[in-house]
């Protein structure tokens, strides 16, 4: 994403990320976002300089592990309740604008 040599983010990358995330941004603030994102990446680049070869990568800030659920079906059909708040349904399906592949 970012230019790996100097950790800076250009306007084009901001626009691409916004598009991928389907976020609408004000064209006037693109340059601001670019500067802020560059700052974040530069911080990460700075941390990269520390020798972390003996540190296990952290996937989660708590030192707990995932608890598991027994494989049992306990949910009942609540389709009517869920579909009452859906914008559009038909024959049990949720309807969305046509998706053409």
């Amino acid at each position: 994403m970012a230019d790996e040599t100097d950790g800076t983010v250009g306007n084009d990358i901001v626009e691409q990320v916004a598009h991928l995330a389907r976020i609408q941004i004000d064209p006037d603030s693109v340059a601001n976002y670019a500067a802020e994102m560059s700052g974040v990446l530069q911080l990460a680049a700075q941390m990269d300089e520390v020798d972390t070869s003996s540190v296990e990568p952290m996937a989660h800030p708590t030192h707990a592990v995932q608890r598991l659920r027994e494989d049992v079906v306990t949910e009942t059909d609540r389709r009517d309740a869920f579909q009452r708040i859906a914008p559009s349904t038909e024959n049990g399906y949720y309807l969305v604008p046509p998706v053409i592949e």
């Binding site: 608890r67 659920r69 949910e75 049990g92 046509p98 998706v99 053409i100």
Partner: protein, 478 residues
């Protein structure tokens, strides 16, 4: 120019759990739309995923069955993309720390060659829902029953060099997941799906060519055809001086072609990151050991044993171990009939399979269970009936609940092995065909078949063929 084909497969196997990977909704196939989609599956705000223990166990079982590394500390990540059948806007998957690391399987080709195919990794993830494009006016319908069904995505190394090798590999994985009972393997219902990464390069070149990914292949036959089509397409492009574009292509079985599915500007960029809703998963040694103890004999080992212990040919052993149910059926018939493995094998793969094929049935749904089939084979083995009569008996058993003995007794089909009774029939046939007897005696020995046929006819097919042949030859020589 000579081209080499390079293929890697990504196989999605739906795990045969009762409930979903992160919610307690049912995974049962075929329910009315959206009746098995709860708040977690719908991606409602405020819900949290809770991992299904059985999905973890099944992934570990697969790792043990393929001698693969186990990710003792594995992490779920979010794969971000937007599509209506993915309500959260991301799929929970695994990226840099999958539950299954590298492993390998061996595949056997028709010519007997054995080849090893590397497994890159296998990871747990959730399935998406289904979009229905045809049934609604100016809208797409979304059914989220499938959303959250556990998947094991099994990724191979680009080790296959032909469509046939790719199919042999896919069949091997299919066989393994069914043997260890982690997936029902139903390709029609989408429980077992293959995506193929296909590229070509000049023979001798070590650098990989640009690949395309073929999706939507729901049978082994289509997998072979889709790859062959794609290879030809890429050769045509390169030989015309063009370049292959890296893209996803959809296989259309009706037209037997692949076509581009996503445009280039939508280039995949999934922005994976560790899912903060889920903690790292630890697979403890104790769990691994307990799963190892439940592991059944695997297809390769069973095949080798069938060759060594039952003296089956490589081909027959392959057919008898193609899935666990067939292998169990075969061994059960052996045990109950005292017949030779060769006899049991040829009747299962021949008469039984051809009748099942005709009726479009799987062995599991066979109208003849192992008890009834074993008795039929036992009667063949002890010479109560001949092979010809056994086929008749099998037909009668097919449409009833009768045992082989009941059919044999009721229809009077017991083979005549009493030589005096056969002798009487032989004498009658010789007496009533003096011309043929003379011809035979003057050297036209081919006529033996005529006499055998006549006596068989007189016995209504019940004369013991060995006894009959012996007696006929004696009498005709006299």
């Amino acid at each position: 120019m000579q081209w080499e084909t390079v293929i890697g497969l990504e196989i999605h196997a739906q795990l045969a759990t009762q409930s979903k990977i992160f919610s307690a909704s049912s995974t049962q196939y075929g329910a009315a739309p959206n009746t098995q989609a709860n708040a977690v599956d719908l991606g409602m705000p405020g819900v949290l995923p809770v991992l299904n223990r059985e999905a973890v166990r099944m992934a570990v079982k697969f790792a043990l069955a393929t001698n693969a590394e186990i990710g003792k500390r594995n992490v779920f990540a979010r794969k971000n993309y937007f599509y209506p059948d993915l309500p959260k806007g991301y799929q929970i998957s695994q990226m840099s720390l999958p539950i299954v690391g590298s492993g390998k399987v061996s595949i056997e080709m028709d010519d007997g060659a054995v080849k090893e195919v590397g497994l890159t990794r296998a990871h747990l993830e959730e399935d998406a829902g289904k979009s229905v494009h045809e049934d609604f006016h100016d809208a797409t319908g979304v059914d989220l029953n499938r959303a959250g069904t556990p998947l094991l995505e099994i990724v191979s190394e680009p080790d296959m060099r032909s469509a046939k090798e790719a199919v042999a590999y896919a069949k091997k994985i299919h066989s393994i997941v069914r043997y260890i009972e982690i997936c029902d393997g139903n390709m029609q219902e989408g429980s077992f799906r293959c995506d193929a990464n296909v590229s070509i390069r000049p023979v001798g070149e070590s650098k990989l060519g640009t690949r395309s990914e073929i999706k939507n292949v729901n049978s082994f036959r289509f997998l072979e055809r889709a790859i062959n089509y794609e290879v030809e397409r890429q050769i045509d492009i390169l030989e015309a001086g063009g370049e292959v574009v890296q893209e996803t292509r959809l296989y259309d079985a009706d037209k037997d072609e692949t076509r581009s599915m996503r445009s280039k500007e939508e280039a995949n960029d999934y922005r994976y990151f560790p899912d903060p809703d889920l903690l790292p998963v630890e697979v403890e040694q104790e769990l691994i050991d307990s799963i190892r103890n439940t592991l059944p004999e695997l297809p390769d080992a069973r095949r080798a044993r069938f060759i060594a212990e039952h003296e089956l040919s490589e081909y027959d052993a392959g057919v008898m171990t193609s899935d666990r149910y067939t292998a169990d059926y075969f061994e059960s018939v052996l045990e109950n009939s005292a017949a030779s493995p060769k006899l049991a094998c040829s009747w299962i793969s021949g008469e039984l399979f051809s009748r099942l094929n005709k009726d479009g049935l799987e062995l599991r749904a066979s109208p003849i269970d192992t008890d009834r089939f074993s008795q039929l084979i036992a009667r063949l083995h002890d010479n109560t009936i001949s092979g010809k009569i056994a086929k008749e008996v099998l037909d009668k058993m097919w449409s009833s609940d009768d045992t082989a003995d009941q059919v044999i007794d009721r229809e009077g089909l017991r083979q005549i092995s009493d030589s005096s009774e056969i002798e009487k029939m032989v004498d009658e046939v010789i007496a009533s065909n003096p011309d043929q007897v003379a011809e035979y005696r003057s050297g036209k020995e081919k006529l033996l078949a005529f006499f055998v046929g006549q006596v068989m006819k007189a016995s209504r097919g019940k004369a013991n063929p060995g006894e009959l042949n012996k007696l006929l030859q004696e009498k005709l020589k006299a």
